[in-house]
């Protein structure tokens, strides 16, 4: 603000609520308060009433907006008693997605961490092994953390993600009391298993490549995958629904094979 006499926006019209003199408003510590303009007397800024009518309504003119608003519909959000809906592409908490057979999409490439302007993401990759395969291909994200004290919800990370593993949900209630609780780990971020998904680790569907997964050719767990998990982790809770899904899947592919011939 180059012009010394221009009032700061917050001072304008503030006369009916508080003492108008900026001298009075000056903080006790003696120096000039932040945002204050030196040498301006707010009282001198109120325009003089031009005629009698104006002079008559002047004392209540300030209530004009209040009066008019009384008869308009209320826009106050009742949050947190009522949750407000957000736009569909709202940038909320992140989610790490899965392929339909339950394998994770994240390959631990760290491109999200690289893209992040706030340095909120921490990733460590690792090798899949035949004994423990978490994602299609060779590499998976072993450690995945997002620090929501740093995240500015810009969405650059989800644009950087080459496998569409990282997306953003509409969840925005991310307040908490401790720092630790606001660092979300892979467990917190991983999408829940949907009906029919088989929890990783398990091998890829037979005869597929990571490319087939990416192109959507894998539509659910196969009988072999289910069998593998049954052998290695008999207590896996997702087995039941995955077994059913695998049956449906094979019936469908047989059906389509039949239709084709």
């Amino acid at each position: 603000m180059s012009d010394e006499t221009t009032p700061m926006p917050h001072e304008r019209g503030g006369t009916d609520k508080q003492p108008a003199s900026s001298d009075v408003a000056k903080p006790a510590r003696g120096g000039q308060g932040i945002g204050e303009v030196k040498g301006v007397h707010a009282a001198s800024l109120i325009p003089e009433p031009k005629n009698a009518v104006e002079a008559l309504v002047a004392p209540v003119a300030g209530f004009g907006v209040t009066m008019a608003t009384l008869f308009k519909p209320v826009v106050t959000e009742q949050y947190p008693r009522e949750k407000a809906p957000v736009e569909p592409r709202y940038h909320g908490r992140h989610q790490l997605n899965r392929y339909p057979d339950g394998l994770e999409k994240c390959i631990g490439c760290e491109l999200c961490a690289w893209a992040c302007p706030a340095d909120a993401i921490y990733v460590e990759g690792a090798s899949n092994t035949p004994e423990a395969q978490y994602s299609p291909g060779e590499r998976y994200g072993r450690v995945y953390q997002i620090n929501y004290l740093r995240c500015i919800f810009c969405g650059l990370c989800i644009e950087a993600c080459p496998t569409r593993a990282l997306t953003m949900t509409n969840e925005f209630e991310l307040a908490d009391q401790t720092r630790e609780k606001l660092i979300f780990t892979k467990d917190d971020l991983l999408a829940p298993l949907r009906e029919g998904m088989l929890a990783a680790p398990h091998p890829m569907a037979e005869g597929t490549t990571d490319g087939s997964y990416y192109q959507g050719e894998v539509t659910g767990p196969t009988a072999d995958e289910v069998e593998w998990v049954r052998r290695n982790r008999p207590d896996e809770p997702s087995l039941e629904s995955a077994t059913a899904a695998a049956k449906r899947g094979s019936a469908r592919s047989e059906g389509s094979a039949g239709a084709a011939s």
Binding site: E110, W114, T129, T209
Partner: protein
């Protein structure tokens, strides 16, 4: 980085200058300069992949195309019709070069090459270790098209191929620049991978009998040799990684049968001690290391320049760490020392500094249980100080600091022994040694710096190796010698029982010498008689060098003879120890007869000199008698004559008579140990004080040349260096040692540097003839392999997998008299026990057997009870089962 190149320093002045014009800028460069280097000198970067300043030009990738015009016979400057590879063409007078900056044709050509390179290049960047530091990524951005016109299916390969346990190859990322194969063939001479096949191959999944051009290992899976049972092995279950199809990673390449390939002497496909360098120079992510695979991105890493701690070469390295964990080490670029290469041990063996057995707090013995328990620093220091003071009064304390200390730490040990404990009973040589060696070190090594250097080796007309196997014991020396030999400047000869692969690669003339006969052979060479006349002559040439390894100390009279040979021929002499701290330890006087700077303890003037530097008043303050050496210290501590021991990083397996030494430490009175990790000796210590590993302190190693190699601290921790711990300990004993900071130590070291007084006299030990084994006995020849059972390699299984397999070498005569052939197992019996290893028949003297000193299954001091020159019997030959090869 891999794409930058600097002109070689020190171009001789007499080389003719040639004026050329590059992008309108005139520059004069020495004759023979490549266009790409000349352009660098004026700050013009031409994109490149295969070009590497330390490798011969290849012109393999064609990325560096530029337009070149030269004057014709009439002097008209005429442009060549097609772009030329600037990395293979030397400048000529009047040449006019237009790079991509000024020539549209060159720019278009480079874009075309880049497009071709990317046609079959996978979209692997997100899962590729090179992503973020990839010359292909970078140059595709700077000199490539923004989008691809290629719409077909890319060619793919099954991957990753394991070339060795440490090195993985993703062939579809390879751009066939051949840096890796050229490095392996030219620099260390281990061509264990090579270019195979021809043409472009077929799209992913297609199957035909053609072998597309690719890099592959000499491995049975690739080349179809070593058919153990006539079968060529294919993908092997390794349980470690998966390929993109979810298949287990390939142990070796796919089974295209091309022909048979060479095996290395131990019956395995070639591995190399230097293979890690290929990962670093690969301009794409085709070669990756199993250890670092998928571990991080360049932007995660914090880099620290450092010096490798595994041998006495002092190689420059870069340590990359992420969140308190070292993830990889790379070769630094130091033209004067290691150029751009390091050994695999220097590159991969770093996990030992962060294993669970690293000591975190001081440990003291619990009075009731007798167990070591954690204690506070003040408690432990007080206890150690009290015990050491008592022991010093009761009979003295022996000081065994070990050979892995930095110069500063070694100095603190030396000063502590003299000032606080008032003793000369100090010896760093935790290995086979002799009093003769101590004299030799005082006479010819201490205080002599930079007499023989790496550059000196490169320009020496002849280098004689005595008791030294550079490939195993000082890898950087091996590379330099090979470079010099290939350049035709240098010839090498070696005193050894047989021609090793290492000496073959430096084309060394073998002077067959059985263990123990070195002294007499050296004397014969000095006399220049008979067979040795020629060798003596080449040692007389100006600049000739004798490199003597620490192993010669085991031969009585050997070091005396080598000094005489040097005197007789005028050849320069350099001592090459194995450990990083040995040379520095000599310099600061960690020997019973030596004070810092090569001052003899017996010299009153020298003592006064040191005493005044240390601020002590009378010369009586420093003991003037030569102290006990390593063996005597241990023996007297065991018998109780010495009342205490102060131990540094000593591995009991390194000591001849390992069992006896261990017993001595157990029997010793009061034992204080300063160690990074708990060791076998910790269980006999009364107080264990943790000291910082190299990543947690700064310091300096002196390499074999005597060149100071300072390094910085990687991690900021509260770990204390030896010098700081000894400073605290001294304080506890009421002495101000003044070694608490590097600055203080450096100040004192510079005060103590120059000693021009008398040196310790040369050793004079009569050469004893080689021991002649009685009938049925054999003499042991042995040394340590680079990759063996060393504690420094702990926690690194991928590296261990590339080690040479332990074998026992016998002569053809011995083999036939024992009735064994290659691959059979032979038992070698010594006084303490036996070692059984596969046989490798090697041309060598009949009554000599060779086996590694400290490899898995072959730790001679403990298992046999003998070392080099000892007598053993051969027993119970076990025939290899039908067709078995050593694997």
């Amino acid at each position: 980085m891999t794409t930058t190149a600097t002109p070689k320093p020190g171009t001789p002045a007499e080389v003719e200058g040639i004026a050329v014009t590059i992008d309108g800028v005139e520059v004069t460069v020495p004759k023979g300069t490549l266009i790409i280097r000349a352009a660098e000198q004026i700050g013009i970067q031409i994109p490149r992949f295969c070009d590497h300043p330390l490798l011969k030009p290849a012109g393999a990738c064609r990325q560096c195309l530029v337009m070149v015009a030269t004057p014709d016979r009439e002097g008209n400057v005429r442009e060549m019709p097609k772009p030329q590879a600037s990395c293979t063409m030397e400048v000529s007078p009047g040449m006019v070069v237009s790079t991509q900056r000024t020539s549209e044709v060159a720019d278009k050509a480079q874009h075309g090459v880049m497009e071709l390179l990317l046609i079959n290049h996978p979209l692997d960047c997100p899962v590729c270790d090179k992503g973020g530091e990839c010359p292909l990524q970078n140059q595709a951005m700077s000199n490539g098209r923004t989008n691809s016109r290629f719409t077909d299916v890319k060619r793919t390969y099954p991957k990753p191929v394991k070339i060795s346990t440490e090195i993985l190859l993703d062939r579809d990322r390879c751009i066939l620049c051949q840096r890796c194969t050229r490095f392996q063939a030219e620099i260390p001479g281990d061509p264990f991978i090579d270019l195979q096949g021809r043409g472009g191959g077929a799209p992913g999944g297609a199957d035909h009998g053609m072998l597309p051009q690719q890099i592959g290992a000499y491995d049975e899976g690739v080349l179809g040799f070593a058919g153990i049972d006539g079968e060529v092995r294919e993908a092997a279950e390794t349980g470690q990684m998966v390929g993109p199809n979810g298949d287990p990673a390939l142990l070796s390449g796919i089974a295209y049968t091309v022909g048979t390939a060479e095996l290395d002497a131990t019956g395995r496909p070639f591995a190399s001690y230097f293979s890690g360098n290929t990962i670093q120079i690969c301009p794409v992510g085709a070669l990756t290391s199993a250890t670092y695979r998928f571990r991080s991105r360049p932007f995660d890493l914090v880099s620290t320049e450092s010096i490798a701690e595994h041998d006495a070469s002092g190689s420059a390295i870069r340590i990359d760490h992420r969140r308190g964990v070292v993830l990889r080490r790379l070769a630094g670029d130091d033209p004067a020392v290691n150029e751009e290469w390091i050994t695999d041990k220097d590159r991969f063996a770093f996990t030992w500094q962060a294993l669970p057995d690293v000591i975190q707090t001081p440990l003291v013995r619990d009075e009731e249980t007798g167990e070591l328990v954690a204690a506070s620093w003040s408690e432990a220091i007080a206890l150690a100080a009290r015990g050491l003071a008592q022991a010093a009064d009761d009979g003295g304390v022996g000081v065994l600091p070990g050979g892995r200390l930095t110069l500063e730490d070694a100095y603190a040990w030396s000063k502590f022994a003299r000032v606080v404990l008032g003793t000369n009973d100090v010896d760093f040589r935790a290995r086979a040694n002799s009093p003769e060696e101590a004299e030799f070190l005082g006479h010819a090594v201490a205080g002599v710096s930079m007499d023989v250097t790496f550059a000196g080796l490169e320009s020496a007309p002849h280098v004689l190796l005595v008791g030294l196997e550079p490939e195993d014991e000082a890898g950087t020396i091996f590379l330099r010698l090979r470079k010099a030999v290939l350049a035709g400047r240098t010839s090498v000869s070696t005193l050894a029982p047989f021609a090793t692969r290492g000496s073959t690669k430096v084309r060394a003339a073998l002077v067959t010498t059985e263990p123990g006969a070195e002294a007499t052979t050296l004397a014969a060479i000095a006399a220049g008689t008979g067979d040795h006349a020629e060798l003596a002559e080449s040692l007389r040439a100006e600049g000739a060098v004798i490199l003597v390894g620490e192993r010669l100390a085991q031969v009585p009279g050997g070091l005396t003879a080598v000094l005489e040979l040097a005197k007789a021929t005028g050849a320069r002499l350099a001592w090459v120890p194995r450990r990083a701290g040995d040379r520095g330890a000599v310099e600061v006087g960690l020997l019973p007869g030596l004070l810092p700077g090569g001052r003899p303890v017996t010299d009153a003037e020298a003592r006064v000199d040191v005493a005044s530097a240390w601020g002590l008043d009378a010369d009586a303050a420093l003991p003037g008698e030569i102290g006990r050496d390593h063996a005597a210290i241990l023996a007297d501590a065991g018998s109780g004559e010495l009342a205490g021991l102060l131990l540094g990083g000593i591995d009991i397996e390194d000591l001849p008579g390992a069992g006896e030494s261990e017993r001595a430490v157990r029997e010793a009175g009061f034992v204080v140990q300063l160690e990074v990790r708990t060791s076998a000796l910790s269980r006999y210590a009364d107080v264990v004080l943790p000291v910082a590993p190299p990543t947690m302190k700064a310091g300096t190693f002196l390499n074999w040349e005597g060149r100071p190699r300072p390094f910085g601290q990687v991690f900021a921790t509260s770990a204390r260096s030896d010098a700081q711990v000894l400073d605290m300990l001294a304080e506890g004993m009421g002495v101000d040692l003044g070694t608490g900071s590097l600055e203080a130590v450096h100040r004192e070291l510079s005060e103590l540097a120059a000693w021009d007084g008398a040196r310790q006299p040369a050793p004079a030990v009569e050469p004893s003839p080689a021991p002649v084994p009685s009938a049925g006995e054999h003499t042991v020849a042995t040394w340590r392999l680079m990759l063996d059972a060393a504690r420094g390699q702990d926690g690194e299984p991928y590296l261990a997998g590339t080690a040479h397999r332990p074998v026992v070498r016998v002569s053809p005569g011995t083999a036939s008299s024992q009735g064994v052939a290659d691959g059979d197992r032979l038992t070698v019996v010594g006084p303490l026990g036996s070692v059984t290893l596969p046989v490798l028949v090697t041309p060598m003297p009949d009554h000599v057997v060779w086996l590694p000193l400290h490899s898995p299954g072959s730790s001679l001091y403990r298992m046999l009870g003998v070392g080099s020159g000892g007598s053993v019997r051969l027993a119970s030959a076990e025939r290899a089962t039908n067709g078995e090869v050593i694997r």
